[in-house]
Subunit: 579 residues, 2 copies
């Protein structure tokens, strides 16, 4: 029982030396990747660089205790950092101590929401985010992040929380571009694209093994950071206006509850909810993908608790909202991480960097960090999936397009809310026009099929409608409309049979509609019958008065119903010739 909420009790018991060796190696590789990433994501979030390091320590240890994935690498990620900047930037001025405190508080609220969802087992709320909405959201956010980082490449001031404001602001300031900054930024971007595209191939060509070549190619950002830092320091480019990271306070994160302000809590709650859900969905999809490769499982409810405690830990240790990151988790997996302990070891690596390595990052140019971000997020942009969604489903495409347009024009939060609203509307729209068919008898069989698709026998006095789906509030009115139309359009009809073979549930709305239909058909002189009602549905109907009021009968089979209502029309010829 206790190990349900503390998975560490399960895997910790069988922890061995060989696990330790593998976890530690993976942790070293992930740490090297995470140092520049954590600084870069802090920059996206509008926070000082140390916030990125802080968000990469305590949360990883919390996840190691409470998380269920053996390979998920928790920490700051690009999209959640963008959402943090959007939420906090709206109510506090960037660059102030209040901004730092508000970002930490956002992490606390996000953590509490995730914990509450986990304890109440409300993870199903994440289902509101359909795949097309997530894909559209990620693509649009990637473009938005890339655009927002262009100011660092150009070395200009530019603002805006939607794509068009950012682009316009960049255009207004482009004449003030700093040449040295632009040279560093553009060179970094080219270098990063080159290492990503060609380095692995080059290393293999000179004889390195596949795996090693791939690992070194992934170190492109680290090489760019080292090279750019050396160049800036050697050529004293700071004096030529190149913005550098500068002093990062050495040491471990300050621990404490961020300054409390009741007004802020409420202003941040909506954003925290969206960050919680989006972070959860992203994280779970990575964790499931990796778990499946080793036939492991993750627990969806416990993941809420794992990510919740991680965010709480981030918030009380000077960080900002975190979640499981895709690229780092894949590296962690490939590097051979066996248990969540790898994450804890990564936290130790980052703590080492925070204690001893920050002076080395003094001359790191912001333009190079921005370049690592741009190259990373542009890989999130997925045009293929947009095209494929268009081809497969126009309504899913509509939800996706509204999400993308919302993010571009109004920012991340409105984008995702508009997408969710659209997909609920479309769901209800589809549910409100369920498929149904008037059925007739396939000659000489007990089968009844759609009269529009098959050559079947029908009767002028008995008609039967088959509803292909559950009967519930979204289609209750349509059910009334279709059944009453059968009576209104054909005055000779005496009996209507509703064929329920595909009905697994009848909710209160549909039950009342059936009662209304029964009453109205009675007024019109038509008897109303049901056929092929499933067992569980029948059990619930028996608890109501519906069956007492029903003018007709409930038949076990469709054939039995039609045969007893119009034996002259519906029968089996029993092999006799027509006569």
């Amino acid at each position: 029982m206790l190990s349900r909420y503390f998975p560490i009790l399960r895997w910790g018991r069988s922890y061995s030396g060989s696990f330790f060796a593998e976890d530690a190696l993976a942790a070293v590789i992930v740490t090297i990747m995470l140092i520049p990433q954590s600084l870069a994501y802090a920059m996206i979030a509008g926070l000082p660089p140390q916030a990125g390091l802080y968000a990469s320590m305590a949360p990883l240890i919390a996840y190691a205790i409470f998380g269920t994935s053996n390979t998920l690498a928790v920490g700051p990620v690009a999209i959640v950092s963008l959402m943090t900047a959007s939420a906090v930037g709206r109510i506090v001025e960037t660059g102030t101590p209040d901004y730092v405190a508000a970002a930490a508080m956002l992490a606390v609220i996000t953590g509490l929401i995730l914990l509450a969802l986990g304890l109440a087992r409300l993870g199903f709320l994440a289902n509101f985010l359909s795949h097309p909405i997530i894909a559209g959201f990620i693509t649009a956010s990637g473009i938005l992040i890339a655009a927002s980082q262009m100011k660092h490449i150009l070395g200009v001031e530019a603002h805006g929380d939607n794509l068009f404001a950012i682009v316009q602001s960049l255009r207004d300031h482009i004449t003030q571009t700093n040449p040295a900054t632009f040279a560093i930024g553009a060179a970094s971007i080219l270098f990063l694209f080159a290492t990503r595209s060609y380095l692995k191939r080059l290393l293999r060509a000179v004889g390195l093994k596949d795996r090693l070549a791939a690992s070194i190619a992934k170190a492109g950002p680290l090489l760019a950071v080292i090279g750019a830092t050396a160049i800036v320091a050697a050529l004293n480019l700071e004096a030529r206006g190149v913005a550098i990271v500068g002093d990062i306070p050495r040491g471990l994160p300050p621990v404490g509850i961020p300054q409390y302000d009741a007004g802020l809590w409420i202003d941040l709650a909506g954003a925290a909810f969206l960050i919680a859900i989006i972070g959860y969905v992203e994280s779970v999809s990575v964790a499931q993908t990796l778990a499946a490769k080793r036939r492991e499982r993750i627990n969806l409810d416990q993941e809420l608790i794992g990510l919740g405690t991680s965010n709480l830990a981030a918030g009380v240790s000077g960080g900002f909202p975190v979640t499981g990151g895709f690229a780092r988790s894949v590296v962690n997996f490939d590097a051979g991480a066996r248990t969540p302990a790898a994450g804890a070891f990564t936290a130790i690596g980052i703590a080492f960097a925070a204690l001893f390595l920050t002076p080395l990052l003094y001359y790191l140019p912001q333009a190079t960090l921005a370049a690592t971000i741009i190259v990373a997020v542009l890989s999130l942009v997925n045009v293929r999936i947009i095209r494929e969604t268009w081809a497969y489903s126009k309504s899913d495409f509509a939800a996706m397009a509204i999400t993308i347009g919302g993010v571009f024009f109004f920012g991340v939060e409105i984008g995702v809310v508009a997408g969710v609203a659209m997909s609920i509307l479309l769901l209800l729209y589809r549910a409100s026009r369920p498929h149904s068919a008037i059925v007739g008898q396939v000659p000489d069989t007990e089968h009844f099929r759609n009269i529009n698709r098959h050559d079947v026998i029908t009767s002028p006095s008995v008609v039967s409608l088959r509803m292909d789906g559950n009967l519930f509030f979204a289609n209750a009115r349509v059910l009334e409309d279709r059944l009453l139309a059968l009576a209104a359009d054909a005055p000779a009809v005496k009996h209507i049979v509703l064929m329920c073979s595909a009905v697994n549930e009848i909710d209160t709305s549909a039950l009342e509609s059936l009662e209304a239909i029964n009453e109205r058909l009675k007024d019109a002189g038509v008897t109303f019958h049901l056929s092929e009602v499933k067992g569980p549905v029948m059990d619930r109907l028996k608890k109501t008065h519906f069956l007492d009021h029903l003018t007709g009968n409930v038949f076990l089979s469709q054939y039995e119903a039609m045969r007893s209502l119009d034996p002259e029309t519906f029968h089996l010829s029993k092999g006799l010739p027509d006569s």
Copy 2:
């Protein structure tokens, strides 16, 4: 084509003298009922009495031109009047000319929304209002209206836009009760309950025919109004503090667009949307009930246009939002109305009253009007349906309870929005846990059934899951979870077959989940197959790359699938004895 948008062109062509006689008789009866009702509903809406008369003229003529129900009686109704008071009272002070203009503007906006929904064929939005929500809303609103009218019975000042505020305000003022007013009010309530319960029986006992007795019993409110007016005038009760209707301006309504104020439009838009939807749902349900009795049909999209033009007409002629009323429509039907012309004739009757009868209403006590309202709305309170919903479906009951609580604590708008949000949440919750079953072979047959319910044959290397419902975003993640669990929990499994016999649709989210499942099972060394995929679903899958990537096959029948994957386990013994 033209007659689709102008139904009057259809029925008008065959209009005859006998229709005229029947419509005119019905109109006289409805007019007699409508005069006190229109004054009372104006009082609920917080408007002067003439606004009720105005809202009973132009809208009826508009509906006669654009509506599709032959018997629907459009005009002011209790619940929409309450919603009007709630929406307008929040932004304009009651009793001012601005209040009257804002109520008219609310009708214009409501009309434009209904028209837009009708022209865009978005009537399905009304499906968001499930029956339990409507029932809860009507019951709660009835109680709220009755409570809000108690101040007129007591002759005190009392305010509040939710039940508890109203009750508290009444309690604070109860010592100021005006004895004469209370005597009139209490007597009116007793008289109305008595006529409703006993008058019909009494009249029949003294020899009147059923129909006539019922009609006279319905005239209870008119008798109460006449009697109370006479008593107040005769005893000069006005001098003893009895509030009377007083001067009603004689004449036809002023025509013109209500004063425009851009800020007001936006403040009123949300309320107008709710009034539009709730009014539409109420109206359509009455119209369908009555149409079915004569095997007539109404057109759901055109009804939006009919009610939209009615509200526009109300707004530009000094009225307030209107819809089809239940009680009046039933009287109209029973009195023999044959075409929408009956409504137009009723409008003429009300115009006659506005021109010539208003002086007679001078001494009508407000307490008597309040009594007619209280007796009418208490019949809306339906405890039986609350009890039955509790018995039939706990989740529908939850939506109903939240609606009722919301109306009581926070007012009508929040009540209905909370109910809708709750039912969407519950819908998604149910959809996120679809029924599924692992199936095995019923011995010696080609049937495969749930292994938990039937004694069936299973294989250690091949498992098959049947999903009982469409695959879409709400259950895509659960689908992944369940299928991956099959592989993770049983290491001997080599093949997984997803049985799709109950799947009518696979949306983009579910398609991507199937692709992810396929990839992950491949990583785990498990082959993924589908069986019994329906034709239309297969057609759409063929447009994607899914079938190219699928590691296994798509089998036409479940038996064929299982038989070819594990012929030793799954076969027909063909009548041979076990050996």
